[in-house]
């Protein structure tokens, strides 16, 4: 059994699943639109939470938040469910497939067999769509993959019940109720306001302040931790910024694409200008990644290098502060 579902590749899994499910139900919503309305852009550095033996850092909102906010703001209803019993989780999935309803699933990456080995880490907030089943094999549309793929029932159960931080617990979700027409204008405004609030938040580890805080920490790393650990930490920042899913520049390019699209919908030329500015900021993030990689490429780096990339981050923070203040005024 196979549902007539069109796979579109996207940069990020969560936006991609939402965008693909919306398209399936006849609403042409792009990935950047989902990301922007769902206020996906963020910066958060959590020094005391370790991921892969380095401080946790994120460039996006908490997993699941983007879809939740998007649904609320455009007025669609989502059905979601988590399970204790893998059998029940499977039964609910099969039920939906029989009813011709493609569903989104939250899964762990570590046991996703179609991923390259190097990318299989214990990360439990990946998303994909199941659009059919043939015998014991599920048909999978994973938005970060170029084409559709498959997983056996056993493999799927394993990824749906991965353990560790943020366990998916068989989390299944799909949109149920749609308005006659999507009211994008209001949703866009809400999304932008929320992002500006997050990025300018008066909290030391979030948004613009979080970027400055990270820069300050980087300066301390080589002395405090030694070169090896400092390089590992720096590598983690670059990976979180550029690894599969961010569309480049820690989601800054996707956000710029969203502003450009919104400018046409809202008929607000200021947003086109701001999109250009955001693209430039994205380029600065890329430059930061290039310079950071120079440090961890040559193991015996000088402490100067750390100070230099920290200065780069501070410059980015200043630019983003001006940017989000201007964005707040532009709408």
């Amino acid at each position: 059994m196979q549902i007539n579902f069109t796979h579109h590749q996207s940069a990020h899994c969560e936006n991609g699943v939402v965008s693909n499910l919306m398209k399936h139900h006849g609403f042409n919503v792009s990935e950047p639109m989902v990301f922007g309305i769902g206020s996906g852009l963020l910066f958060c550095y959590i020094p005391f939470l370790k991921v892969n033996h380095a401080p946790a850092i994120t460039y996006r909102a908490m997993p699941g938040f983007i879809f939740k906010r998007f649904a609320k703001r455009v007025g669609i209803k989502i059905e979601r469910e988590k399970f204790k019993d893998p059998k029940k989780a499977k039964a609910r999935l099969d039920e939906n497939l029989i009813n011709n309803n493609p569903v989104g699933l939250q899964v762990g990456v570590y046991n996703l067999t179609y991923f390259p080995d190097e990318y299989r880490f214990h990360f439990n907030a990946h998303n994909l769509v199941v659009y059919g089943k043939e015998k014991d094999t599920y048909l999978i549309s994973d938005p970060v993959m170029e084409t559709v793929t498959t997983l056996t029932a056993k493999e799927l159960e394993k990824v749906r019940f991965a353990k560790g931080a943020l366990p998916p617990k068989g989390h299944i979700y799909y949109p149920t109720n749609f308005p006659k027409e999507l009211n994008l204008e209001k949703a866009i405004l809400k999304g932008i306001k929320h992002t500006c609030r997050d990025m300018l938040a008066p909290m030391p580890i979030i948004g613009v302040k979080g970027i400055r805080f990270t820069a300050k920490q980087i300066r301390k790393w080589p002395k405090k931790l030694g070169t090896k650990k400092a390089n590992h930490y720096l590598g983690q920042i670059v990976r979180m910024q550029e690894e599969i899913g961010t569309g480049g520049g820690g989601f800054r390019y996707i956000f710029a694409a969203f502003l450009q699209e919104s400018s046409k919908i809202l008929n607000n030329p200021k947003l086109t200008e701001l999109a250009k500015e955001m693209t430039k900021i994205g380029d600065l993030w890329r430059d930061f990644a290039v310079d950071a990689s120079r440090i961890y490429k040559n193991r015996g780096a000088k402490t100067d290098g750390y100070n230099e990339v920290a200065t780069q981050l501070e410059a980015i923070a200043d630019k983003e502060e001006v940017f989000f203040k201007a964005l707040k005024k532009a709408i």
Binding site: P116, M145, A275
Partner: protein, 135 residues
């Protein structure tokens, strides 16, 4: 980033015949998507991370041989796990898992407990007890 500047460097993605999507600006200044085969700065970061894991695995293996730790720690590192992740997979409190790292405690573990670990690591109890039997 301009579309023409989207990096096409060699990376680990290539071996899996896999290209990533990213967002870039075309000649008219409009946003569009483009495929990328990889980008050196992040390939190096990933390679370093993998190397770091390999080193941890080798280090754990050495310590098992010297009877400083139990094979559980070795397999934990091999599966890219840390203590909280392993504890949640086997369903045993972290402090108990940590205790099972002690060779003395490990040797006294019941088959039932060993089986829990073996299942998570997808090996037999025999392989768990004796690293030489592992591949």
């Amino acid at each position: 980033m301009k579309k023409s500047e989207v990096p096409q460097d060699k990376s680990n993605l290539e071996s899996a015949n896999f290209r990533e999507l990213c967002y870039a600006v075309d000649e008219n200044g409009e946003y569009t998507t483009a495929h990328t085969t990889g980008w050196d700065p992040k390939t190096i970061a990933l390679d370093n991370a993998i190397e770091d894991i390999n080193q941890r695995v080798a280090d754990a293996k050495k310590r098992v041989k010297n009877n400083i730790t139990s094979p559980i720690e070795y397999y934990m590192e091999l599966h890219k796990m840390d203590l909280p992740i392993l504890a949640s997979y086997v369903g045993i409190w972290q402090w108990r898992v940590k205790r099972h790292f002690k060779p003395k405690v490990f040797h006294k573990l019941s088959n039932k407990t060993l089986q829990k670990y073996a299942e998570v690591f997808e090996i037999t109890i025999d392989q768990l007890k004796n690293l030489d039997h592992a591949n």
